[in-house]
Amino acid sequence: MAPEAPVKTDPPPVAAPRRLARLVRWDVIVTALLIVVFTGGALGTPDFATTDNLSFALDDLCEIALIALPMTLLVVAAEVDLSVASVLGMSSALLGALWDAGWAIETIVPLLIVVGAVAGLVNGLLVTRLGLPSLAVTIGTLTLYRGLAYVVLGTKAVAQFPQNYADLATKTVPGTPIPYPFALFIVLAVITAVVLHATGAGRAIFATGAQEEAAFFAGIRVKRIKLLLFVVSGVVSAFAGVIYTLRYGSARADNGLGMELSVIAAVLLGGVDFDGGRGTLGGVVAGVLLIGLLRNLLMLRDVATEIQSIVTGLLLIVSVLTPRIVAAVRETRRHPRGTVSASS
């Protein structure tokens, strides 16, 4: 079972309120919010719930959604990877440069995946072998990889990619409003959810994030897990770079600039605890969809970009504040004398 609620030491008072209290978990709230936004949008805004608009909205957030998957695993393991957007950019730049030089797409894409793996490996090695904090490391690699993207492609933009592949990145699965890249996301999300919540590996990840030393002494190969997660993050980011390039039809070194913050925002919005050891993938999926659909809805209603930004920021703050307040309230109810809780 994934650790989700704080360990209860007192005997439960009554069964019903406890089950209700269980629901006041952020990822449940986010899912509820998502449903509210969706129905509100479908009823209130005529152009929102059309196949066209939805397929576009889903297509628009597929890169963020894809990268959010390994990011969730990393954050649960109490690490973070801020270099994802730069790996995306580097991948896009390489795609453009090699395509322009006449290489075949079928050769370029596997190569990019290898490059992504190497990029992730660098992050992982610096964190596990040298024991450096992942925040600092990935800020460094964020700058480094983006710089390499510019070195490779300069300020050029390469276009004219083959139509059949570009279509793969934008067209929908026939009969549904789901674009192919998003369908890929759904498949990967299911796999990730199973791994995280129903396998030993997933439990190991939770344990690593919750209490690394204890996990280590319990025999969990903490370093190997982290290394693997960073590599996966690099691979997914690189592939997302390919999708991004084909979708926009333009390979540029500045593709995806700043996207890492959006991915982290989506993961945090999904209720994953930034200190590690807690969170559900369902929450992250809901968080990703919430941000994407909310943005789409606001744009349809001609709400200025700036307001969208404010809404995202407020949602983020509320998303982390709520569990703390709920926990504090629960704490004071259990210990009415208001003792200081053990750890932050």
């Binding site: 079928e106 059949n164 592949y165």
Partner: protein, 356 residues
Amino acid sequence: MLRRPMAAVALVAALALGAAACGGTTKDSAKDSGGGAATSGKKADPNAPLKKNLKLAFLPKQVNNPYETLVDNAGISGAREFSGQAKEVGPSDASASSQISYLNTLIQQQQDAILIAANDPNAVCGPLKQAMSRKIAVVTYDSDAAKECRDVFINQASSEQIGRSEIQVMSELVGGKGKIAILSATANATNQNTWIKFMKDELKKPAYAGLKLVKVAYGDDDDQKSFQQTQGLLRAYPDLKGIIAPTTVGIAAAARYISGSQYKGKVEVSGLGTPNQMRKFVKDGTVHKFELWDPQDLGYLAAYAAASLASGQITGAQGEKFKAGKLGERAIGVDGEVILGPPTVFDKDNIDNYHF
């Protein structure tokens, strides 16, 4: 410990080689399968009245750019003349991908016309083509998209004329001899690259044999970056004689740096700038001449062009004419381009006549 991941990497590499061996899609092979040009099959009806209550949307490079704001606001008030409703939407960062989201929203909202200043000529092509297939009129202004993705392009002045006149003015200012540099905006902006192309072409003429273009720097239309790029240029080329900045943000930053440094009076600054920003530097002698056009006319003309398209008066073919309110009748030139007019040259004698 790394054996398993390494094995995976080797497998992927082998697959790649295998795929390549079977022949793959390369740039040249893809060209043959390129899509054909879209033929609209529309017919122009010059006598059709301008439709009322047209919904227009201006999508600038970025909403925080004051120049773009001037253009768009003029277009919005111009639209009111024919009872149209125009609005301005756009990203806060000048990136192509942000424009895509807005384009799709506008398509969903079923606008009658979309007016866009493209950050990247190709990235916006997909959604623009989609818009055109839904009978939405697509007009580009200031910065063009690829020609098959739009109906009409409103160019503020002939690109060739802008490019060549920049060199002519600079040559006059530096006395025909010396090193010059260009401070541009973003490296992919269509308009910038077209102007620079003509500048380089003009430099090939024997009359400018004494001028040498040493560098094209990019300030990304960001004031602080343009400022530092200017510093860098002057430090890398201490004998630089002139800087051409064909961007209102760039020229303001360059002029500001030079007017406060030891290079004032020694290095000429010219390019495209707004009178309000440049006034101080013209008066203190840093800048002697610069050019522009009235951005408000650009927005106004674009609005009328969009309305004419949406009402079926024109289809964007060469030779068609339409009426543009107080700007009179305009004709469409080659490749659907409409030119606003020749650029105005500002200097200390006439700068006080303009207030934008």
